[in-house]
């Protein structure tokens, strides 16, 4: 396996961006010392075991767990199943989609982040058989396990929007930041073309749980800012359609955003769900809970798809059987231990979990160590000791150069990690975090260090 560090250096040695060089100088003194302390090593008290552990999904959650388990366990057979070779830094998509970052910044390689000594099966899980303690891949290979970590992320259900075509993002004023790095780039093309002239913009929000529920709001703030910069704000109308009765599930943030939008002249239509789109004619249809249908023309639309568990989880015995998470097929885990409620040798991590809020990389940052510790406890024959409080975080871009750093828990309580951070204060520091510091933090999470 290539050394992740050396590859990253070669990639960045030729980066022409002189800002990076300047900024790099600030990290010299501390980083040199930190380097020694942070060199990867096996935990001194690694648990000896011959357990077979399968991790389904090689996104942030899967890789972070693999790195941690391979340090915490001695002798375990760890297998990651996922065909995806490219690793995308999804939290950077909003920066790409609003013209702040080049797309290269959100593209890495999974191979550079995986620990050594694990098996990587480059196939997809086609079937979960938790009663037989096995997964079956799309080539038909059956992989048996003693313990399973489900980290498949979620499914973007664009099919629920009639007429929607993901391949058309970037043309005809069609934007959607979610599906991929290329869609984020194409979204910026659409936004850039739109801001040159201005016009009618429709921003949407579905009724399902979302990954990074702040992203639709960031896109709205940034669109307004881009129009203002281009001098076309007064020639434009930016309208937000939420399929819910709010725009964000945490009440204080919801209120704050609505007040800001009122000041920025962004009207919000609640309980208005995007159900169909005619891309060529630039017309979108919304329905109310009563079934009333409204068709609107637009020059620019940002489509946020309904989200649910991937079919492979949804159609397995693993999802919630009843309650609010059953419809989306979300994984039935205990929200504190993140252990499956019916299959005690199964844990869930990341976006797939049927837990309140919490579908962000920041959630994975705080929950990957908990899943790892609890799984190690279970392997050692103990009960899981660690509890997750639902920590979620979202740097909410307000405009180029300023953001809010919003952190909260399952209960929707604001939980700033540093007491001096004011979550409702426009802040350069929050911006700097998003622009420069959170990707290194993400990589450290993936490597299982934080």
């Amino acid at each position: 396996m290539t050394d992740p560090h050396s590859r990253r250096h070669t990639q960045q040695a030729f980066d022409p961006d002189r800002r990076r060089l300047l900024f790099g100088a600030t990290v010299l003194p501390l980083a040199a010392g930190a380097g020694l302390a942070l060199a990867p090593r096996r935990a001194s008290a690694a648990l000896k075991t011959s357990a077979r552990i399968v991790i389904a999904g090689s996104g942030l959650g899967g890789i972070a767990t693999a790195n941690r388990l391979s340090r915490e366990l001695d002798g375990a057979k760890i297998t990651i199943v996922d065909r995806k070779e490219m690793h995308n830094y999804q939290p950077g998509y909003t920066l790409v989609a609003t013209g702040i970052w080049p797309v290269e910044k959100v593209v890495d390689r999974n191979a550079d982040l995986h620990p050594s000594g694990i098996e990587w099966v480059r196939e997809m899980v086609a079937e979960f058989d938790p009663d037989g303690n096995a997964v079956v891949t799309d080539s038909g290979r059956r992989i048996e396990y003693d313990f399973l970590v489900v980290a498949t992320g979620l499914h973007l259900d664009y099919a629920q929007i009639e007429g929607m075509d993901v391949d058309a993002i970037g043309s005809n004023g069609l934007a959607s930041v979610y599906p991929s790095h290329l869609a984020a780039q194409a979204t910026w093309q659409a936004m850039d073309a739109f801001r040159a002239k201005g016009g009618e913009a429709l921003m949407t929000l579905p009724a399902t749980p979302l990954k990074c529920a702040g992203a639709p709001l960031k896109m709205t703030f940034m669109l307004v800012d881009r129009l203002r910069e281009a001098g076309t704000r007064s020639a434009s109308r930016v309208e937000f359609h939420s399929a819910l009765g709010n725009v964000f599930s945490v009440e204080r943030i919801n209120q704050d955003v609505l007040e800001r939008w009122e000041a920025l002249d962004v009207p919000v239509t609640f309980n208005s769900k995007l159900v169909a789109i005619d891309i060529g004619a630039r017309r979108a249809s919304f329905t109310s809970p009563e079934g009333e249908r409204t068709e609107l023309g637009y020059d620019f639309i940002h489509v946020v798809p309904p989200m649910r568990a991937p079919d492979v989880v949804k159609n397995s015995p693993l999802p919630w059987q009843e309650g609010g998470f059953a419809a989306g097929g979300w994984l039935e885990v205990d929200k504190e231990t993140l252990r499956h409620r019916r299959y005690p040798n199964v844990f869930g991590l990341g976006d797939i979990n049927g837990t309140p809020r919490g579908k962000t990389a920041a959630t994975v940052k705080k929950s990957a160590p908990i899943v790892t510790r609890n799984l190690v406890d279970v392997i050692a024959g103990k009960e899981p000791a660690e509890r997750f409080d639902g920590y979620t975080s979202c740097p909410l871009l307000l405009r180029e150069g300023s953001a809010l750093l919003v952190e909260f828990d399952y209960e929707g309580r604001l939980t700033p990690s540093l007491p001096m951070i004011d979550p409702l204060q426009d802040s350069y520091f929050a911006w700097l975090m998003k622009y420069r510091l959170l990707k290194p933090a993400y990589i450290a999470v993936a490597k299982g260090r934080v």
């Binding site: 600030t26 990290v27 010299l28 930190a34 942070l38 004011d422 260090r449």
Partner: protein, 113 residues
């Protein structure tokens, strides 16, 4: 504790990303130190004043430039946390400048026996 650990990790990952630059600065510092100790007696005390002046200038320049180099501006400094971070980063630049400038000025002001 966790946040200090997180901050160290962020710095470490940044450090990895800037390794060529970091290496160049370390090499430059070693060369300057070697020269300073090479011939004669380096004038550490007499070199400190100008080195501090230069470091201060670099810190001020960084303070003014960093917001725009990170696609923001001084007018976006919302509250004291923003100012404190900007000052800390600017002082970081100043510290690196001091580390390079001090042996340089100590060499320029050395005494030969």
């Amino acid at each position: 504790m966790y946040d200090i650990w997180l901050a160290l990790n962020i710095l470490f990952e940044l450090f990895l990303g800037y390794l060529p630059l970091v290496a160049a600065i370390v090499v430059a510092w070693l060369v300057l130190m070697a020269i300073a100790f090479g011939r004669g007696r380096p004038g550490w005390r007499r070199g400190l004043g100008p080195a501090l002046m230069l470091a201060l200038l670099v810190a001020i320049a960084a303070f003014l430039a960093i917001p725009s180099l990170t696609k923001s501006s001084l007018s976006e400094m919302g509250y004291w946390v923003d100012w404190a971070n900007l000052i800390a980063i600017a002082l970081g630049f100043g510290g690196v400048a001091l580390a390079l400038a001090w042996p340089l000025f100590a060499t320029l002001r050395r005494r030969f026996r």
